[in-house]
Amino acid sequence: MAELTEVVVPDLATDPEDVRRPFRGLVRRPGFVVPAVLVLVLMIIALLPGPVAGLFGHGDPTVCDLGSSGDPPRAGHPFGFDIQGCDLYANVVYGTRSSLAVGVLTTVLALALALVIGLVAGLIGGWADFLLSRLTDIFLGFPFLLGAIVVLNSVGQRSVLTVSMTLALFGWPTMARLVRGSVRSVRGADYVLAAHTMGLGWWRVVTRYILPGAVAPVLVVATITVGGVIVAESSLTYLGIGLQAPAISWGLQLSDASDQFQNAPHLLWFPSLFLAVTVLSIISLGDTLRAALDPKQRS
């Protein structure tokens, strides 16, 4: 028995060398390094907005002076002032947190839902698979933004949590399909059968032998989802059904700016710049990872 264990256990899917192979050499590519560094910087800003906002000496986004309402940039206030006379730089920096929080929280929730539904559908098959697949179809039938509009329209208190939950409700189907597909493709593989035969518990088989192969492609989609969710959140907030006033978010700043940009275009430029750079770095990060995973593009 000891011999057999030694022969069977080091299977391909969990061997760290093999899982990492597609990503080897990634670190040297500018297409990976630049967005990765940007995302890292943005994450630091989101976690520690205080010190970053305080760089120019006026770090409190709630200290406002109506006398400076809509003033253009000047010394100590690199981005100028918003309509309430608050420092725009501090507000944009603090806005990073809500955007990234919604992006990451939504994706984590959607990913969890997708893993559970994809696993159950893929493993159990039969009627459970049929029901869950139709459910996936139904949620895929919603155009993302319209579905979110319908739900958020009737949510009274819209916070980071409720907005994320709503977006996650419409964000899981693509990932669930991916998980289901990968699970079905390895369900009957020899090494999974071997693991079962050896008497390993089903939980161990699932987490150590079935999931690792399914996770890499899903994580790529999840990365891109974060970018898409940030766009969706800011668009919904702009429409007036995303985050609400006491929250500080790019969507709210841009929504305010849209009435004022003829007199104070800097209100539009700076939050837009942050939003676009964030989304662009996240999406290109996902894109590079996808290219690395795609054997057709890897030579």
């Binding site: 139709r134 459910l135 179809d137 139904i138 949620f139 039938g141 919603f142 155009p143 933004l145 319209l146 579905g147 509009i149 319908v150 739900v151 329209n153 009737s154 949510v155 009274g156 970018g227 766009v231 800011s234 668009s235 702009y238 429409l239 007036g240 059904i241 841009l254 700016a257 849209s258 940009f261 003829q262 275009p265 539009l268 837009s272 939003l275 676009a276 989304v279 662009l280 999406i283 290109s284 894109d287």
Partner: protein, 313 residues
Amino acid sequence: MITGRTALRVGQRLLGLVVVFLGVTFVIYLMVFSLPGDPIRALGGDRPLTETVIANLRAEYHLDEPVGEQYLRFLGGLLHGDLGTSFTGRSVTEQLRERWPVTIVLALTAWVFEIVLGVGLGILAALRRGTVIDKGVLAATIVLSAIPVFVLGSVAQLVFGVRLGWFPVAGSREGWPISFILPGLVIAVFGLASVSRLTRGSMLEGLGADYVRTARSLGVPPRRVVGVHVLRNSLIPTVTYLGTDLGYLLGGTVIVEGIFNLPGVGNLLVTSIRAHEGPTVVGISTALIVIFLLTSLLVDLAHGLLDPRIRRG
């Protein structure tokens, strides 16, 4: 032409559509009515309504019935083209009817931009493969697609409308095409990355194909090789994508109509959201979702006709 197998495929697809349609509308209904918050009380604003008024309004909008019954009533109305009544007493269908033309014109304008620019850039990138032009097209389209539509719209409005004065800042007073060019471009830009990439990819595949090499070696002029032999076969994936995209373009009009103040369906949706017109929001979203589903069905069927492999597979 229509064989038994095609009929079966169409039938299956239609059945699937019905299931998805029922599911989607039911999910909308369930979510809207099981969520906390009372639309009737919200109607009164800060001033509380009396119990009698609330009871009357509830009865009027059938809010006192169980969710299942309300859903069936909603579905019945939908089959008759009735999308409900707004809290101000106007029929949602009636309001939509006046606004569809603007939205359809806008979506089609955006679609034409997407086709011309996307396919054009894709062909250009494929013919100049590996050069600065190729990389520039890729980079530019990705950067543009990462900018949220409402940011792009506001920036375009500021630069081309206010500063340069090339296009009207907002409104549809000057009619088609001048009032629709800027909003149409803004919507189209989002899809450029996918369309040009798809076109480039299949063009490259086509350029390397045996029959193209044969045509070249026979001395067919390059222009004809690309125009007749490569393009015709390479465009099938792009055509499919463009078909599905028409549904998404309708969604894109929602925000852009709001920014450019075009009196379309999307603009109505935006104003209804801001005015807390719950029934109108649900009615419009449902209409848009139904159109989205129908478009994807049509594209699917058309795709089967274009590509015999799909029809027989």
